[in-house]
Each structure stands twice: as C-alpha cells, then as structure tokens.
Symmetry: D2
Subunit: 416 residues, 4 copies
C-alpha cells in the first residue's frame, strides 16, 4: 500500500497547476465579461478557445482518454494514455475552475464519455467522422438519454423508439436535460433508445449517432438548474425526435447493445465527476479560509468563530476521505475493471456529491449574501453538485442497489 502519486502524475500536476495559475484563474473574470456580452446565450466565448489553444500547445490535452484501451493508430495518438489513477488528480485540479479548465483541456463532459464510446465501440468511419474533430476540440457533442416522462434511472423505462426501416433507423421520442445540446457547435448526439421492446430488459436499448441538424430534431428549449441555464456549456436541452431518419450505419455497436455501452461509459465518468467535485470542494475551502481571515463581525474575524472552525475542519476531514475513495476506485478500474469496481463506483456517487454540497453550503453561509450571488462561484458550484445527486439516477437508487449487493450473501445463507 502506497499513497504517493507516481512521477508521471506529479509532473503533469505541476504543469497543470502552472497552467491554472498563469492562464485559467486570470481568465475567469474575462470569461464572465464575455459571457455577459455575447449575443447568443448558448455559445462559447473567445477566451475559452484561447485557453484550449494554450493547453494543447503545452500538451495538456485529452488526458481523460486512457492509453491502454484503444490502438494508438486509430485515434492518432491524441489521447494522453493515462490510467484512471493518473488522470484522477488532474481532473481534481480542473474542478477548481470547472467552467473553464475541463473544456480548456478538452476533458469536459459529455464529450469525454462520447469520445470514450466512439473509441471503444465506434466503427472506423464513425471515428473518422466524429471522434477526430472531438479529440481536436473542433466540435462538441451530447448524450441523449434522460427522458421527462419516465424514471430514467431505471434504463429499462426509456421509451424513445429506434426503429429499423430499410437502410435507416427512424427515431421518435422526447429527451431532456441533454447537456451541451443548446450550443450550435454541438454537432452530434448519441441517442439511447429502444430497438426491441420484446427483448430481455437489458437487451432492448441501442445507441445511435444523430447529427444535430438532422430533419425532425427539434431543440425545444434549455432547462434550468436552480435558475442557471449553463449557457456557457451549451445548456441542458429538451429535444424532440419526430421521425428522425439516419443511416443504419450510424448505430453504435450492435442492436441491443445500448445498456452495455451505457454501463461502460459510466465508470470513468463518475470518477471524473467526483474528482472535479473534490476540486470544487478545495476551491470552496480556500474561499472559506480567505473570507474567514478577512471578514470581521462582532469585533473578531470570522475565523475566530467556533462554528466557522467547525465547518472548516469538517470540510477538510470529508475531503480527505472522499478523495481516497475516488482514487481507490480509479485504481480498481485500472486493475480489475468496471465489474470489480462496481461497489466503489456506486459508493463515490453516493458520497461525493452530497458531501461536496454540504461543504459548498457552509462556504455560502460564511459568505452571506455574496455567497448566493454571481460575485462568487459558490452558488453555481452548489447547483452543479446538487444536480449530481440526481444525474445518472438519484442517490437513493444507488444506495438501494449497493445494499442489495451487500445483503446478497446473507440472503443466500438465510434461504439455504
């Protein structure tokens, strides 16, 4: 057992921290101004493109894409070839400026998951057409799974139909909270839907590539998350698919393979999200500490208040525990794979958003009205953390499932 990062990780951490200090943090106020000034509320802004260029120049690019799992020839060596355990501490650092850093490094969701899917399951042609420009950061993409009319945490409920018709598939359904899809530069959607309602539950769904400009695709509106439209990241679209016809070759993998692809996509995504959340928590602790030592109430700095100290200590204690669990999960993914890390992947989904939400709440409370406002990143970070208690299924669903696994050996014992 050893708790040190390896040397490759330490090098990249140092380079990334430099990049954060020299470019990302200084870009934050510029970003806010450019957002306020832009005409279209769903597009990106120039400073983001500048950061991307600089990051790529420095080789801080596509870290998320593991080296071992796809041939270098296919993806042109663009992935950094890091293990999950090597990437995780870098993802944490990007979480300190979550609106800018992940995108700057071409490591932002949902593109990362989509690129993984294309790298793992895409045909040569699908990769050439969509993976390459995504890896180059030229276009964006979206992942269309969640539906308003069903409890999507149970994938079997998904009702969008994908029906074979000659050389095409025809897609009909309604999706929402499709992150990134309001952005006009989002060119491609990976759509999850039902190809065979009569198959066994886990073989009914398939995934298919649908260019955003395909006739019949209507981007209806952007959904808000506690008042935020997240327009800088292409928002969260409601999309109607009304007899949308795409070539049959757009199917990813095989018919009925949708559930399995979704599962493969989940693990790394959870680790990325959780590590970024931890970076957000570190940013919040830093803001708490700065505010505490500089703000005076009732004749003393806030840092002298016992309750404030209690919050800061509790925040530190929680962060240290969470980080270790997420890192262990990344290590399990690398060493025993998705299946062997099943419990831990659920555990970090249960533990991290809730704890980070708690930390952000305390940081907000410490900042008073400033904390809920646009002058500090805290409220927006909070909304992101809160959303992650729901995304990919509410915590309660994951607890239920984790407990079932914990109980299984005893249930067997009892029934035998």
């Amino acid at each position: 057992m050893d708790f040190t990062y390896d040397s490759r990780t330490e090098e990249l951490r140092a380079e990334l921290l430099d990049f954060m200090t020299e470019h990302v943090y200084p870009a934050e106020p510029v970003f806010a101004e450019q957002l306020a000034a832009r005409a279209d509320p769903w597009t990106s802004v120039p400073v983001v493109e500048e950061l991307k260029a600089e990051a790529r120049r420095r080789g801080l690019w596509n870290f998320f894409l593991p080296g071992e799992r796809h041939s270098a020839s296919t993806v042109g060596g663009l992935g950094a070839g890091l293990t999950n355990l090597q990437y995780a501490p870098l993802a944490e650092i990007t979480g300190r400026s979550p609106q800018l850093a992940p995108t700057a490094l071409n490591c932002a969701a949902p593109d990362t998951g989509n690129m993984e899917v294309l790298a793992l399951f895409g045909t040569e042609r699908q990769r050439e057409q969509w993976l390459r420009p995504l890896l180059d950061g030229e276009i964006r993409s979206a992942f269309a799974m969640t539906e308003p009319d069903v409890a999507s945490s149970d994938a079997r409920n998904i009702a969008t139909r994908i029906v074979r018709s000659g050389d095409s598939y025809v897609i009909t359904g309604r999706k929402w909270f499709i992150s990134g899809a309001m952005n006009p530069n989002c060119r491609i959607l990976i759509v999850m839907g039902k190809t065979d309602p009569d198959a066994p539950p886990h073989r009914q769904q398939s995934m298919i590539l649908v260019p955003r400009d395909t006739p019949g695709v209507t981007i209806r509106r952007g959904m808000t998350v506690f008042g935020y439209d997240d327009g800088d990241h292409g928002g969260h679209a409601e999309i109607v698919f009304d007899d949308v016809r795409v070539p049959a070759e757009n199917l990813i993998g095989e018919e009925g393979g949708g559930f399995a692809i979704a599962q493969a996509r989940l693990g790394p995504g959870r680790i990325h999200h959780c590590m970024r959340l931890i970076g957000m928590a570190e940013r919040a602790i830093e803001l708490m500490c700065r505010r505490s030592v500089s703000r005076v109430a009732f004749g003393r700095p806030l840092a002298a208040q016992g309750v404030v100290r209690d919050w800061i200590a509790e925040a530190r204690v929680r962060v240290e525990q969470m980080r270790l669990l997420v890192l262990k999960t990344a290590w399990l993914m690398d060493t025993v794979g998705n299946q062997g890390a099943h419990t831990e992947i659920q555990a970090i989904k249960i533990a991290t958003p809730a704890s980070v939400e708690w930390i952000l709440d305390k940081a907000i409370q410490l900042h008073g009205a400033a904390g809920v406002s646009q002058d500090f990143p805290l409220a927006q970070l909070w909304a992101a953390a809160r959303m992650l208690r729901l995304a990919d299924g509410p915590d309660e669903v994951h607890k239920r499932s984790l407990a079932r696994r914990e109980l299984a050996p005893y249930a067997e014992e009892a029934s035998s």
Copy 2:
C-alpha cells in the same frame, strides 16, 4: 390553551382559499408566459395587476397591517386590522404561491415592512406621500440596509453615511441585495445609514426616505440568488449612493433612531416570512405526494418506497412543529409585544428556513431532474428558503444571540 383559529380567521381563510383556487393557481402558468414574453426583465406583468384588482374587490387586501397600532384616520381604514395571530394563517396560505399571492393581496415584502415603518414612525406628510400609494398598491418600495463591504448582520457595521448639510441630508455609500429596487415602479427607498459615528453603537444609525430617482442614486445591477434574478419582484439591486441629497424632513423618526426602527420592523416580518415558508412547505408536500403516487420506478410507484415515505412523514412532523411555534410567536407579539417575543422571534428564524429547505430538498430529489428545473416551482422555492437562512443575518448569529440569553441567568449566578 386552545388550538383553534378564531372565527374571523376561519372566515378569511375560507375566502382566501377560494381566491387561491379560483384565481391564483390558474394564474401561475399565465404568469410564467407573461414573464418570458416581457421586454423589461425587472417589471411586473399584467396578470399580477388583475389579481390585485380582484383581491381588493374581495376585501383580501393589506391584511398584514395590524389594526390597533395606528389611527384609522391616518391610513384611511385600508388596513384589515388583524392581529398577528389572525394574519399568520393567511400568510401561510399565500406562501403556497409565493410569487403571486402575497403581491396580489398587497402583502408582499419589503413593502409590508416599509408600510409598517411609515405607519408607526412616519410624519403626516411622509404617510400622505408614500404610505397612501403603497397601501393602494400603486407603487413599490425598497429597504436599503445590507452592504457588500461589511457583515451587515451586525447593524453597527453599517458604513453608509447620512450627513446633515443645512436643510438636507447627504447620503454616501453602497448597498446591495436591495429587494425590489430594480423595478422601475419602485419609487421610494428607506435607507439605513450612519448619522453619528461617535454615538453609542445603537444610536449611530438613522433611516431616511430617498426617492429612487434622486440624483446620485445609481441602480448598478441586479444580484442573483443562485441563478435567479427574481426580476418579477424587482430583483435584488446593487445601489450606489453618491452624494445623494434629500430634504431633512425625509428623516424617519429621529436621528439615531434607525436601530430601534429596524428592530420594530423585524418581528412581524419574520412571522410573515416564516408563515409563507410553511405554506411553501405544504405546497412541496403536496407535490411530493402527487409525484409519489403517479411516478413508477422499479415496478412500483415511488409512494411504495420506504425512503420516500420517511421523507413525507418527516416533512409532516416538522411542519406541524414549526407552525405551532410561529403561531405562538404571533400570539406573543400580540399579547406581550416585540420584547416579550424576542426568543421566539429568533427561534422561528432559526428553525423555519432550515427545515423548509430540507423539505424542499427532498421534494426536489423525488422529482429528479424536473425538480431542479423551471417546470416545477421547487427549485425556486428552495432558493428563496436558502436565502432566508442568510437574510436578516445568518442563522448562526441568531443562535449565538439566543444562547447568550439562555445562558444569562446562569452566568449571573456563577459570577455572583
């Protein structure tokens, strides 16, 4: 001891419930449409004026203004003359639709507090000029106390200067989170500032009337609360006062009386806020129940899930406790006044926002992504409840103060 509402309250509750069913709830979707369509993001919309007219026609108007505390001749008998205990259950009902109902009844903050101040401390002329149109619902007002640069929960920190200069006062300072002040129909600001920095701490502040269009008043921007600008209620303005000159007669009460007026304004405001929060909680429970019985996951309605039942029960148990405490506080205000109700006024400020936030969080969780979105009122209600854990000073300040009072007799005993 008797836990029944009196007959006047019961009558008004019945009338108000009718009004809610017949007019307010049906107006909610209309309101959303009109908000989306309006040109100026800080103005009210027609449906609100229609509701106001209808409410006034029905005599559901200015309930908040107690009868005993000002002469009928002065305010033209416009106040309903209810006690705090009689108004409280009505305020709860308006909280079920908090964007519409309080305004419809001319019972919305911060106008209510401002009208109270004018009724209690205003001169004949101040009342004629500002109280009358406020009671008639013709104009809106704001209360400018919070400042960005100091911990305003300690009123002694307030730094805005109000300096006598001949027949005028000159005001210089910066305020923010001044609710309602972005609305062009907000015509008058009650500004809290320091007239005498050398006086004893509680005699340094004064309150003064500043028409919003006075030269030197700059409405700089609207602050957001999580992602909400609350534009339908005139937002939360940042305001700069740069050598703002108003006639000396604009002072409310006497120089150095600001702290005392602020205290008098607090009690009823807290009761109103808390009762509306309880109405919000009841709305949330209703939405939880409806969703629970209609939404199916893993083969059963959500209502069959043990965790969901636990939330609903806990929500009910908390609401019943909170309501009684707020009602008792209203009763104390009526029978022994502000001073006698001091502990309870702090207790409801501590207990209610936090508990209602908890209930709203669970209601959101139950609704999944829909819960955080604009399609349900839950996320916006949550932001309002969260804000109230900070408004008028963070919970922690109130706990500190309440504990000091609890400890006082023991401290005396120990030191004697």
Copy 3:
C-alpha cells in the same frame, strides 16, 4: 387560539414545582446512596416511599387519571380529574427528575396505563382487586406485550397463546422487556396474547390479568438498556409463561378486544412519555448552561465557545417546538379523542425521543467524561430517550404509517 395554561394547571404547576424543590431534588443523592446500599437490586428504596407519602399528603397524586372518563364512585375519587392538556405540563415537570418524581406522584409507567385500562375496561371486581391498590400506590404492575421472537411493533405478530380451558385460560409464551416486573412488589401482569389465531388480524388478541406469583410464571432475568438494568424501577424482565392457568374472569374486556384496548392505552401514554422527555431536555439544558459558565478550557468558559452556543440555541429551539406539538396533541385527545389525534400521536412519537436524544448527546459532550458517568444523570437519561425511539415500535414504523395516511387522498385521486 391561546397559548396560556388555565388557572387550575398554573396552580398545580406551582405546587408541583414547590414539591420538586423542597423534596424531590434533595432526595436525588439520597436515592443514589440507598440504591447502592440495598440488598435486592430490583426493589424500591425508602426515600421513594417517603416522597410518595409527602406527595399524597399535598394532593399531588394520580394526576394522570382523567376525570371525565370514569365515574368517581368507581375509583373512589382518587384520580385528579385533570384533562390531558392539564396533566401534560405537570408530566413535563416530573420528567426533570424522572427516576423519582413520576413514582412519587403515582404517575409512573407502566402503572398509569394499566390503571387506565382497568378504569376503562375492568370489571367491578378487577378494579376492586387491582385498581384500588394501584391507585393507592401500594403495589406495582407490569404490561406484558413485547416478545423476543417477533417484530412486536406489528401487534399481529404476537405469538403468546391464551387458550380457553373450562373456567380458566391457559397462557403459554415468552415475553421480554416487561418493565417493572423484576420488582417483587409488582403483583399483577396484564398479558397480551392470541386467543383466536383464525380471527381477522385485529381481533385475534386479548388481554388478561395474571398475578405475578401464578404457577408457571418464571421471571427469568432482567434485560439491560445499554448498561442500565433500571433496577430501581423493577427492571425489564424476560418472563416465560409455561401453561399458566388463571380464572376466565381475569380476561379484560372481551375476547379479541386486546388490540383495541392496546390502542386506547397508547395515546395518553405517548403524551406522558413525550412530556417527561421534554422535562428531561429542560434538565439537560440547565446542566449544559451551568457547566458552560463554570468550566474553563483554553482560557475561556465553555459558554464562550461558538459551538457550545450553537448547541444550546438549537436545543432551546427544538424544545419549544416539541412542547407545543405535544400540548396540541393532548388538546386533541381531550377534544376529538384518540382517532382525531392519530397523526399527532404518531408525530410526537417520531419527533420527541429523537430530538431529546440529540439534546442529551450534546449535554453529555459538553460534560466530557463526567457526562457518560454516574455522576450526572445525563447518560442514564440518554439511554431512556434512546429506548423510546424503539418502544411501542421503532420510529420507522410510525413514519411509514403516518406517510401512508398523508398519501391516502392522493392515492385515491390517482386511482380514480
């Protein structure tokens, strides 16, 4: 709505508070010494009998027994004839010294519930034989319901058999946590068991009187609650009933009436328990305050620590809410009866033990090692509060049931 106690209550409160100050609190150390010195660990001690004599002399006796619900002639006018709402604040006061005061006033569980049952459902003969000496405080009694082998919170699970055999009933089964039954002066057990396993679920049980010295009754051992055996109150016995034969006239009420009698017994018992818990919480707050002002750490009294103040404030806020809800429940019992108060009776069972446990935990923490020890009453009070989260069924069962009632109208609506 009126939050004042009536004059009869105020008078009795004053008399009881005198009695507490003059006799009960001074008796506490004497009680501890006598307990340590006695030979039989399950018996009462002399100081308790002295307190009983003094209380009776002062007319502070049998307060718990409501006046309206039984004819004075029957019970010899021994009950104080108070309503639930009048008795509740007195029960709170006794909770401040829960090992002594309830017994001193002949208002201790389980005797109170048993006397209620006999007063309401007993025959003339049963009352003469058992109710009279109980009302006189000459003997003690126990209520034998809980069983080790089944989840007794679901009364239908109770497995003890009561079988008719000629002029007798024969009882067979095992009970545990039968409070008071280790005490040799506990003379009579009310036993709940199944007379007809084939009847509808709520008509299978009956209650029957079993003198503790009946052949076949084996008092096996005292169960502990955390490390306490509660020997001063007769402990919590495990009892085996092995072909125990009693006259048929010992049946209380009719065959199959056990469930209904248990329900009738519940409501007042919950109110008494909850009010005593509130008294315990007040005692804990008092101890916290005293310790806070007198104990110095890191150069300041504990009372100056923010976290300590936070606890004290939170404790006060919770107590105020709880008390009002329990008082309202008492008022509902008096005005609309058991059925109309159903939700509230469950709500106080859910809210009170958990909150009082929280308060006691904080009081213990504040006292350091002393708090967990025999030198302060806190740890023992904590164990009592903790036990009440389980007694009469765990909180979770009550939440489940309360939620079902909350959901019922929506479920109907949804299904129609």
Copy 4:
C-alpha cells in the same frame, strides 16, 4: 499509488482470521458466562488467559510494537516489528471482538501505549521491571492523565502535582476514568502531573511510574460509561494520590517532558482505536445484514425495507472512506512521522468515532429492543464508540485545532 496490503500483512490477516474463527468467536459466550459467575467484578476470567496462550503459541502477539523504533536487544525481540500500516488491518480484525481479541493478542489499550512509552523513553531498569512483564502479558498497567476538576483536553490544565523531595517525588492529585486500574493485576500506573508550574506551558508536565500498591494511592471507585462498568477490562477508576512517594528514578524521561511523551503516545493509539472501531462497524454491518434477511415485519423481511437498505448502503460507504483515511494516516506515521501526520491523526479522531457511532445506532434500531440489551454486542460497542468521541479530548477540540492549521497560511497572508 497502490491499494493492496503487502504480503506480510496478508499472511498475518489470514492467520488472525483463522484464530478469530477457531478461538475468539467461540469464546464470546464462554466469556459472558464467566463474567457473570466471577466473584470480583474487576478481574479477568480464565477464557481470556487461554486465548492469550493460544495466540502467543501462534505468534499472534505484540503486533502493535513497531520494529524500527527500538533496538531488538532491549525488548528481547518480543515485538512483531510491524509498521503501523501493517498492524492497522490486524487491529481492525481484533475490533470485531473488541472485548476479547485485543487482549488475547496482548494488543489492548492502555497497555500498548504504556509499553510504547517504556520502549521509547524508559531506562534500562524501568524496562526490565515493567516493560518485560507487560510484553509477556503477565501484568496490566494504566495511564493516569484525565482529572475530574479540569478540562483535561487542554493538557496545560492538569493540576496533579509531582514534587521533588530529596531522592523521591511526591504526587498529590485526583484522577478519574483511569482505564484498567480497578483490576488487581494492574500493577503499574504512568501518572502525568505538573513538576514545574512556572515553566512554559508545554514544559510543566512530567510522567512518572507509580506502582499501584504504593502507600497513598487510593482506588476510590469505578466510573461507568452509559451504565457499563467495563469490569472485564479493569474498569475506569477514580484514583486519589495523597502524598504518594516514589523514588526519583521512577520519572520517565526528563522533568518537563510529559507533554512531549504524551504527544508521541497519541498517534499510534489513535490509529489502533480507529481501526478497531472500523472492525466494530464491520461487525455491526454483518449483524444488520443477518437480522435484515431473517426478521419479518409487515409481511416482508426487513431487508426489503427501503430505509433499512439506505442504512446498510450508507454504512458501507462510510466504512470504505474511513478505512482508507486511517490506513493513509498509518502510512504517513511510517513515512513522515508524527508531525507530518498531524492533520490526519486529528482527522481520523474526528471522523471515525462519530461515523461508527452512527452505524451502531442504526444497527441497534434494526434490532429493536434486542439491540439495546445484553443479548447483542451492539449497545456496548455503541458506548465504546461514544466514549471515543470524548477520550483524548472531545471532537470539538480537535476540529478547532485542525481548522486553526488549515487557516494558518491564509491568516499569515492576510496579516502580511
């Protein structure tokens, strides 16, 4: 970074698990019987000696004593020479049967800490006289630090005097909660007291060896912890030192070195306690699962209840996080020492007892009345966990200190 135990650890874990299965778990009921039957409530019982003999035979002995930190010649090679990281997972396993396993392996507090102190700071002669029989498990020892009259979490408060008088030291003071000291086989006390009240705060205290039978040492009584006297482990004594005279050579280390020795003693002790707590939590989870699948209420096994699943999942998620943090702390102790692990040593003290207490509370709740009783280990484990929220200073003191360290760089920055 690597999350696997090394091969030495895995081997020892396997051997220890065998010993637990073959000897320790079967000894638990025997232990309970022998405890109930013994004459002196403070002595050990035969089954413990048998376990010790068997463990030593198997080489499962003195694991706690690290190899690198003292010369093999001095302690006769009796220590196992494990690192903290190697011992930690073994300590966890012993926590599954905390009344038996740690003692069986001669790894029970407070002897372990005392042996560490003697190994690190003792003279040749002190080691020969006291360390050797302790390492052989022949005698027991106690550590006398906590005092009833001061907040001992601030070591500077300690008031017991140790005064030089010729060739002796004379000790006067009162201690309590001195674990193990009621046991007649506890032969030696390490007493912390003040040698120089005028020295700087951290140089006032010294530690000295006081044989338990020295004239002037009065073992006054055993303190209880939630009703438990912990007599099987020698209880928690109140001890009066009344002019107790011991040879000057009994001083450990130098005058004024007491604080430093106490600090050195702390780190490993915390790790041991926390790992044992994690073992207790695992035992509790196992008991929860067994009960859940076997107990039926309302027609279904408890395992089918959503709330129960929520508890089990939450327990698992918490345990995984805690264990990693404690292991990392052990690794830090091994690699950078006490000072470098300062934050983590406090973090585990804050996180572990509170979380394990939570898990035990849920396990108790699931077991109903059985959970609080002597029939399951849960209530007693709970009391132990609860006590550890206070031992070595309450959580709040540690949070305060940890936060101060977190804030330090910001405070410097702000003041420069």
